[in-house]
Amino acid sequence: MTQATVGERIREVGFLRRQLTRPELAAIAGAILVFAFFAITAGDQGFLTFGGTISYLQVAAQLGIVAVPVAMLMIAGEFDLSVGSMVGAAGIIIAITVTQYGWPLFAGVLLACAVALLVGFFNGYLVIKTGLPSFIVTLAMLFALRGLTIGFSRLITGRTQIGGLSEATQGDVLFPIFAGEVAGIPVSVFWWIGLAVLGTWVLQRTAFGNWIFGSGGDPVAARNVGVPVNRVKIILFMCTALSAALLATIQVMDAGSADVLRGELLELQAIAASVIGGVLLTGGYGSVVGAVFGALIFGMVQQGIFFTGVNTDWFLVFVGVMLLVAVLFNNVIRNRASKG
C-alpha cells in the first residue's frame, strides 16, 4: 500500500513534455521563436552579426538588470513603479556630485546607492505600515522622485541634461566594472547574467526564496506559519531600487552624461518582461529565468525591427504583434505540454 500504490496512479509522461511545463522554459521557447523570426527575415541584414547581437543583448541586459529584482518583488506580491524614476534620479545624483561638486566617481556612485536603498526602504516601509497597495505608494514615488530629479537638476545646474562626465569616468577604475567590455561584449550583459544567476539561486535554493514565494502566495498564511513577510518585502523593495541605481551607474558611465528623463517607462517594461516570463501579477508564482527571457524577447523585438528594414512608422505595431505572438507561443507550448 505504499510505493506500489503511488506508482499505480501515475501515467507515463515524456521527459521533454515534463520539462516544458516549467514556466521559464515556455519563455525560452518564445525567445527562440522571436530569434528565429529575425534570423530568417533579417539574417542577411546584420541581425546575426556580432554587432547586431550586441545591440539587442545590451538593450535586454539593461532591462534585465532591473527586471530580475522586479520579478522577485512581484513574486512576493508587490509592485515597484518607481524604478524608472530611480534610474533618472541616481544618474543625476552621480552627474551632479561629480561635475558640479567635484566628487570622485566612486563617492557619487555610493551616494546614489545609498539614496536608492533609502528610497527602497521608504517604499517598503510605507507599504507595510499603511497597508496601502504598493501600486499607489510607488506610483506616488514615481512622480515625486522624477519631480525631485527635475527640480534639483534645474535648481543646481539650470538644465535637465548634464554632460561632461566622460573625462571623469573614462580613466576611473570603476569604468571597466560598469561600462567596459570583455571580448567586445559590454559588461552590462555580464551584470545581467550575474544577477539572473544570483536571483535564481536565492529564489530556488535559499530559505529567503521560499519566503518570497510564501509572502506573495498568501501573506496571511505565510505570516501565520512564521514567515517575516514585512522584512522580506522591504528587503526586496531595497533590491529593486538598488538595481535601478546600478543601471543608472552603467548608463552614466556608458553615456558620459545623465538626463532627468532616463529610465522613463522602465517600470512598465520590467513588469512586462516578468509577466512575459510567466510571473503572476497577483504574486506567488514565477521565476527569475522567465523574467530574464522576457527581457531578452523585449530586447530582440525592439532592436530586431531595425534589421528588417520595416518602415519605422509601423514600429510599435510590430512590437505589439511580436510580443503577443511570443507570449501566445509560450502559452501553446505550455498547454501542449501539460495536457494529456
Binding site: 552579426t49 539593461q62 527635475i150 541634461q161 566622460s166 553615456a255 517607462l265 532592436q303 531595425f306 534589421f307
Partner: protein, 311 residues
C-alpha cells in the same frame, strides 16, 4: 584645425564612396535621430521620404517613442551593425553619442549630422551639418518678440526634461533679454489649456507667450481668448500647422518659427547619395535651415504646404 580634419575626411571618403559605380537602388541609408512622432519631426520624415523617392535610394528612418538617450545609443549601434552606405544622425547629447558616431565614420560610413550637433559634427568626422540648433531658434524667436516690446514672457513646456524643449526656452530667454518663466504643462490638450489659463491669471504682468508645439499653441490661443488676454499678450509658437498658420494670418499670433526642417530630412539624403556615388560634398561648411519666421504676411501661402506636411 578644421581644414586638416576636412582633409582626412576626404581621404576616407575616397575608400567609402567614389567611383560612381554604386547603383542608387542598392544604397542603404540609416536615419537615426532623437526624433519622436510629433509635428516637427513628421515634416522631417516627409522630407526624407521625398528625397528617398527622388534619389531612388533606401532610407531607414528611425525614431524614439520618447526622449531616451540610452535607447538612441542602442539604435546607433544597431544601425552601424547593419553596415549601411551612409548615416544621418543628430547629436542631442554629445557625451553619449559622439563615440558611437565616430565609430561609424572611422569604419568608413559617411555621416551627416542634422538638427542638433552644430558644435560636434566636425569632431565626429561627419561630412556636414544641416539645420539649426534649437537654442539658436529660441534666440531668434526671443529677439523677434523683443522687437515687439515684450519684456517678460511665459514659455510653455509640454514635455519636461526633454532637452530640446529646454534649449528652445533657454534660447528664448537669451534672445528676449527679459524675464522668461517656464511653465510645465501636461501634453493633454484640456489639461494644458486649463493650466495655461491659470498660469496667465497667476502672472498678470506677462506680455509674451511662447509655445513649443502647434498642438499646444491651439490650446494656448483658446486660453488667451477665454481669459480675455488676447489683446495684451503677444503670442508665438514653434513649428507650424494649418490651424497655427490660420491664426497667424488672422493676426492672432505674432509669428510661428519655421526651422524649414523639411530640408533637414531632404538635404542629407541628397548629399549622401551624391557623396556615395560620386564622392562629392560641400567642403567644411554647415547648411543652416533657419531661422525663418512665418508672419501675417506670408502665412496664407504656406497653409497648403503645411497641410501636406512640408512646412
Amino acid at each position: 584645425g578644421c581644414g586638416q580634419q576636412g582633409g582626412q575626411q576626404e581621404g576616407e571618403g575616397e575608400q567609402g564612396g567614389g567611383g560612381g559605380l554604386v547603383p542608387r537602388e542598392e544604397i542603404n541609408i540609416e536615419f537615426v535621430t532623437h526624433a519622436s512622432p510629433d509635428p516637427f519631426w513628421s515634416v522631417v520624415q516627409n522630407g526624407v521620404n521625398q528625397a528617398a523617392e527622388d534619389m531612388g535610394v533606401n532610407v531607414n528612418y528611425r525614431e524614439l517613442d520618447s526622449y531616451d538617450i540610452p535607447q538612441l545609443q542602442r539604435n546607433l549601434e544597431a544601425a552601424i551593425a547593419a553596415d549601411p552606405d551612409g548615416m544621418v544622425v543628430s547629436i542631442p547629447d554629445p557625451d553619449a553619442l559622439n563615440d558611437k558616431i565616430r565609430e561609424a565614420t572611422e569604419n568608413g560610413i559617411p555621416v551627416v549630422v542634422i538638427n542638433a550637433g552644430e558644435n560636434d559634427w566636425r569632431d565626429v568626422g561627419a561630412l556636414t551639418y544641416v539645420g539649426q540648433t534649437e537654442y539658436d531658434a529660441g534666440v531668434a524667436a526671443g529677439e523677434r518678440m523683443a522687437q515687439e516690446g515684450v519684456r517678460s514672457a511665459l514659455c510653455i513646456n509640454h514635455e519636461q526634461g526633454n532637452i530640446t524643449l529646454d534649449m528652445r526656452c533657454e534660447g528664448f530667454e537669451k534672445g528676449l533679454g527679459g524675464q522668461v518663466k517656464q511653465i510645465a504643462v501636461q501634453p493633454d490638450p484640456t489639461a494644458a489649456r486649463n493650466g495655461i489659463k491659470t498660469a496667465l491669471r497667476q502672472n498678470p504682468d506677462v506680455e509674451g507667450l511662447l509655445t513649443l508645439n502647434p498642438g499646444i499653441a491651439d490650446q494656448a490661443l483658446r486660453a488667451l481668448e477665454e481669459s480675455g488676454r488676447s489683446e495684451d499678450v503677444t503670442f508665438a509658437t514653434f513649428d507650424l500647422s494649418p490651424s497655427v498658420l490660420r491664426a497667424v494670418s488672422r493676426g492672432e499670433m505674432l509669428f510661428a518659427t519655421d526651422q524649414q526642417q523639411w530640408l533637414q530630412g531632404y538635404l542629407p539624403i541628397v548629399l549622401l547619395t551624391n557623396y556615395i556615388q560620386y564622392g562629392v560634398r560641400p567642403v567644411n561648411t554647415e547648411i543652416p535651415t533657419g531661422p525663418a519666421f512665418i508672419t501675417e504676411e506670408n502665412a496664407e501661402q504656406v497653409i497648403d504646404l503645411s497641410r501636406q506636411g512640408i512646412r
